[in-house]
Amino acid sequence: MRKVLVGLILVGGIVLIGCAPAKKIIKPESTLVPSGKISEKIEEKTIEIKPEEQLVKIDSEKITTREATTGKYFEDENMFQNIYFDYDKYEIRPEAKSVLATACSWFLKNSRVEILIEGHCDERGTTEYNLVLGDRRAKAVRDYLFAFGIGSERIETVSYGEERPISFEKTEEGWQKNRRAQFVVLNLKELTK
């Protein structure tokens, strides 16, 4: 297995040198004399064969992956206000309820649109935890929509963690703007034609 692992890669024109453990041939010399304490001499002659490393060119196309692209929707991001959250929390605040009620009644009237809820966080947490916190925030809003009778098949959620801040100010005010769930209204392209 270790021999199979040989070179890495060159992608996008940058060289990557992979390493495999070099083969070693250890030939102990016959001069090893175990007697005599101070005069002991260890001589180990080893020839290291060239490392089995090569510069291998890999086109980025060679990294194969199968995935479809989206693009079947017209996205409308600014139809509703954002839902804001407390630091490190995902409970819906009481003052968000009127925004949610407005959005929900519109979604109920416009039953053909689909709804994306994005979860976002401020930058203070750690990247990975913020990603699950954003997931939890988006889902707190989604659960609210469920309670209004909006079908689960119309709702999609995604977490962006701390990746897409609105404000870059490092103040509580700036951070508050970033701790949010955001609605994106998805209009199917074929329907709106």
Binding site: V4, I9, E44, K45, Y129, V132
Partner: protein, 428 residues
């Protein structure tokens, strides 16, 4: 089957080895520094500039490799009484307090191959303890130098050096992220070309042939596996919700992840060969994430907000016996298990995000960083160093430190935004 055969071959090999070498083991196994003893003393070493073409370049890499470990006391070359061309004379070194001397010479063969002779001397016993010849193509000069440093390190400590291991990390702009790989010292940065909207949680397989990670494409967080042998990237798991890779299980066919596929983020074990084999380990309405497995495969450390704030917890590999480890601070995340035993590194909020270590029983809490925000710790294969990301110089870069917090240094370029570092095994 194949493994069995291999074990047999190894046994035969070891049998032969010991039958021949037993008389000499007393000299063979001398360890100059007992690095596992808390009272170890730095070993005074003189690394002479290698003679011949590229000699300085090679001996500089060796010096800086050994220096970062903190195990050696480097004696200033200005004080040396002997040139590299002169024959080793212990009297020239004992007066300087030097205990180990490294000499080397380089020749070029056929205009492209480097042939390096390396000699290691014990000053007290006035003898040569290592003599070795290396040969490599000129463009592999850094790999060659790291190999020499590994051999010297092994001879003096009895342990395996980490100088040929690699570090993977993430970089890119707002629209597109990619994975990069570099040597452990930050040299030879290379881009892999996997191109994703967002990438998180890079993890190496133990044999170094695969890199697994979470990436977002078209609003979906999937788990991808990049196989270096055939250079194929494959999506190994995807579902609705956020899927974040945690760790490999020791056997290698299973991974532990956090997924919100059923609503809230919980921890699952997935078989890579049969993705239908999914085992759910936690069931909470809150957040359960970032699992990391102990080296013996028996325990999982993870993050949970079941106590109202994110804290580090411990549970058995089957999800039972959950215990909270951290009680100080209100935001403790990103735990990672020490590769050699009972220690966990994690990130705690204390005037910015800082890296701490703690024992699995909650004792010995130690803060390692203080400047800026420091995140995403990952241990070197021998557990003696930690790589992490820090914004202490404004933009995020990759830094190294020793596991006791000493010798913190940036290893990626200041103008390149880098994060999510992960150290490979020595098998790379």
């Amino acid at each position: 089957m194949k493994n069995k055969l291999r074990v047999k071959v190894l046994l035969i090999f070891f049998g032969l080895f010991f039958s021949i070498f037993i008389p000499f083991t007393s000299c063979e196994s001398k360890v100059y520094i007992d690095i596992n003893s808390p009272l170890f003393k730095q070993l005074p070493i003189a690394i002479q500039e290698f003679s011949g073409p590229y000699g300085k370049e090679i001996s500089d890499v060796i010096s800086s490799d050994l220096e970062f470990t903190g195990l050696f006391l480097h004696i200033n070359p200005d004080a040396y009484l002997e040139t590299s061309a002169q024959e080793f004379n212990p009297k020239n070194w004992s007066v300087l307090g030097v205990e180990i001397v490294v000499k080397g010479s380089v020749e070029i063969e056929k205009d492209k191959d480097l042939i390096v002779m390396v000699f290691l001397y014990d000053v007290f016993e006035a003898k040569e303890i290592l003599k070795k010849e290396y040969q490599a193509k000129k463009e592999l000069i850094r790999t060659l130098s790291h190999s020499i440093a590994n051999d010297i390190y092994n001879k003096l400590t009895g342990e395996t050096g980490i100088f040929r291991s690699k570090i993977a990390f993430i970089s890119g702009d707002k629209k597109e992220k990619d994975i990069y790989i570099m040597d452990w010292d930050g040299n030879r940065i290379s881009k892999l070309g996997v191109k994703k909207e967002a990438i998180i949680s890079l993890r190496w397989s133990r044999d170094g042939t695969k890199l697994i990670y979470s990436a977002r494409r078209n609003r979906e967080w999937g788990i991808y596996c990049l196989d270096f042998v055939n250079m194929k990237e494959e999506k190994v798991f995807s579902s609705k919700g956020t899927n974040i890779l945690g760790d490999f299980l020791p056997k290698g066919d299973e991974i532990i992840i956090s997924s919100s596929k059923d609503g809230t983020p919980n921890i699952y074990i997935i078989n890579l060969k049969e993705s239908s084999k999914i085992k759910k380990l936690t069931s909470s309405y809150g957040i359960e994430t970032s699992p990391s497995i102990s080296p013996d495969g028996k325990y999982i450390t993870f993050v949970s907000d079941r106590g109202r704030t994110p804290q580090i917890y411990l549970m058995d590999i089957d999800g039972l016996n959950v215990n909270r480890i951290t009680f100080e601070g209100t935001y403790n995340t990103s735990p990672i298990w020490f590769p050699k035993g009972d220690l966990i590194a994690f990130v705690g909020l204390k005037v910015g995000n800082q890296i701490f270590t703690i024992e699995p029983d909650g004792s010995e809490l130690t803060q390692l960083t203080t400047e800026g925000n420091n995140e995403e710790p990952s241990f070197s294969p021998d557990g003696r160093c930690i790589v992490f990301s820090s914004d202490r110089n404004r933009s995020k870069s990759i830094y190294l430190m020793r596991t006791n917090g000493e010798n913190q240094k940036r290893i990626t370029p200041g103008n390149m935004e880098c994060f999510g570092p992960r150290w490979s095994s020595n098998n790379f």
